[in-house]
């Protein structure tokens, strides 16, 4: 009751709970229909409803130099996420310098990782470029790994007459405890577990001419170790990922063009399996045009492609998974209508390949249930404050 009273009395976009204290929250529910392959529940020739997000955050700025922030998130996504609430981020931010043009600070705790334009708010539906993230550069199967991690980060911002440069560099220990990591890296579930090791991620973003141009570069080194369990089919291997993401955006009043390109070099050793003790480079990109024909409306078209192995794009030089599980190429056409704090969207996907289909929802073993060519229709209602 108190919360309802607070919400109704608050200005749109935030709840002020006292001096320097703010609360925000979000909720989304999606409906998924697919011609083949399951996404977000039993969507194959049916309507899946198991795709949902619910989150709330609190921040407190006791004075100009300190900021404390935390967010709790529950996420449902077919068989890969069951809605268990978790700490999405929680950190202390200390401003070290701020002179009007330049700022510098330090964050300590569980921090959202910078990765491309959208990673830090990828679970907040109304901030995404569509109903789901572009699955090429932001594949949900590795989301937990890149999403947020305990660590320490330095960040800064510098403004000049024509540009605004912001950057951050974080030393982190990524979250390796995720069944999707096994299905992706080992291509099967295993009693063992991945554990994140010392890693770093850095990003520089430049905005030119009043954000008409936005350019970004993300680089990092992400390490993880495999700890075999009883009956594991793999040795105590380790993997080293070297991600690179280039981001570019052009904004006009009615039109935005966004393109991101990524390469992730993945070196494995010690697993005792030839295909895993190897080096390959994952390649992904997308280009999206977003048109705003009228206030509160947007229409978007996106082309995205992802390949596990840049040197074997069609997946024919391996026999572990179906060739089409080694890539995904898709067209996305979507429309969004904003009504006050609601964002209502519809999105259609034409997909060739199943790389971003979770085998937890659509297995390819013991019987291959994945289909190479498929369509997907998504509907979503998202609310936020």
């Amino acid at each position: 009751m108190l919360l309802v009273a607070a919400l109704s009395a608050a200005p749109v976009g935030a709840v002020e709970l006292g001096r320097g204290v703010q609360a925000h929250g979000f909720f989304s529910q999606s409906l998924v229909y697919t011609s083949d392959n399951n996404v977000g529940g039993k969507s194959d020739d049916g309507l899946a409803t198991d795709m949902r997000e619910l989150g709330a955050n609190l921040s407190w700025r006791p004075n100009a130099d300190w900021l404390l922030s935390g967010q709790v998130l529950a996420r449902w996504a077919g068989a890969s996420d069951d809605g268990d609430p978790r700490l999405d981020y929680g950190f202390v931010d200390r401003s070290l310098l701020s002179d009007g043009d330049t700022s510098l600070g330090l964050r300590l705790g569980k921090i959202k990782n910078p990765y491309g334009f959208y990673n830090t708010t990828r679970d907040v539906a109304h901030t995404r470029p569509g109903i789901i993230m572009p699955q090429s550069v932001y594949m949900d199967r590795v989301r937990n790994f890149y999403l947020a991690a305990p660590g320490i980060a330095v960040y800064g911002n510098h403004v000049t007459k024509r540009s605004d440069i912001s950057w951050s560099l974080g030393v982190i220990r990524p979250d390796g405890d995720d069944p999707e990591l096994e299905s992706l890296f080992l291509t099967q579930q295993d009693p063992g577990r991945f554990k994140g090791k010392n890693s770093w991620l850095g990003q520089v973003l430049t905005e030119l001419d009043g954000s008409r141009w936005r350019l970004g570069l993300t680089l990092g080194e992400v390490n993880m170790q495999f700890r075999p369990g009883a009956g594991s089919a793999f040795g105590a291997g380790s993997s080293r990922l070297l991600p690179l993401v280039l981001s570019l955006e052009r904004n006009t009043e009615k039109l935005s063009l966004t393109a991101e390109y990524s390469e992730v070099r993945n070196s494995g050793s010690g697993y005792g399996i030839p295909g895993l003790d190897d080096t390959n480079t994952l390649l992904a990109w997308y280009v999206q045009g977003t048109y705003r024909p009228a206030e509160h409306w947007r229409v978007y078209l996106r082309r995205g492609e992802i390949y596990v192995d840049k040197s074997d794009r069609e997946g024919v030089r391996q026999t572990v998974v179906p060739p089409y599980a080694m890539f995904a190429k898709n067209w996305t056409l979507g429309v969004r209508r904003d009504i006050n704090e609601w964002a209502l969207s519809a999105e259609w996907h034409r997909v060739d390949g199943t790389l971003w289909v979770s085998p937890l929802d659509t297995p390819f073993r013991p019987v291959n249930q994945q289909k190479a060519d498929w369509d997907m229709l998504l509907l979503q209602a998202a609310w936020y404050f």
């Binding site: 100009a64 401003s95 700022s103 830090t120 403004v159 605004d164 954000s211």
Partner: protein, 135 residues
């Protein structure tokens, strides 16, 4: 007709600033660089050059004064400012500006909040706020 249009372009437009950036009277200085104004309203800088905290007040996205602030003073579009706030607010990296409903409320909040930064279409002579010229 065409000549009349040129007259407007040359003699009227350059002076026709439709929105004034205002601050609490205790804030030092009389002007602000456009890039700094963009960083303050974008919630990327949180302190005035003298080290005191900035408190940003805004009007709703579709309010004519907000649209004028974005286009004329900050050289961007309202949707970009909103996206920039969302990125910071939902990753915990900054707080959102405080939204007020009317220009009258804007003036009274800016007048009574230390370090306050806001904007209105017309500052009257007896308004208890200071205009900051964006250049």
């Amino acid at each position: 007709m065409r000549l009349y249009g040129w007259f407007f372009l040359i003699f009227i437009s350059p002076q026709a600033v439709a929105v004034d950036v205002i601050v609490n009277r205790a804030v030092a200085g009389n002007s602000l660089a456009e890039a700094s104004a963009r960083a303050f309203f974008g919630m990327r800088l949180s302190k005035w050059p003298d080290g005191r905290p900035v408190q940003v007040f805004v009007l709703p996205d579709a309010h004519p004064a907000h649209v004028a602030l974005c286009k004329e003073q900050l050289n961007l579009y309202p949707y970009q400012l909103r996206q920039s706030w969302d990125r910071l607010v939902y990753s915990g990296m900054a707080q959102a500006p405080v939204e007020v409903a009317t220009e009258e409320e804007m003036i009274s909040r800016v007048a009574t909040t230390p370090g306050a930064l806001g904007y209105v279409r017309k500052v009257r002579a007896n308004d208890p706020v200071k205009i900051l010229y964006v250049d």
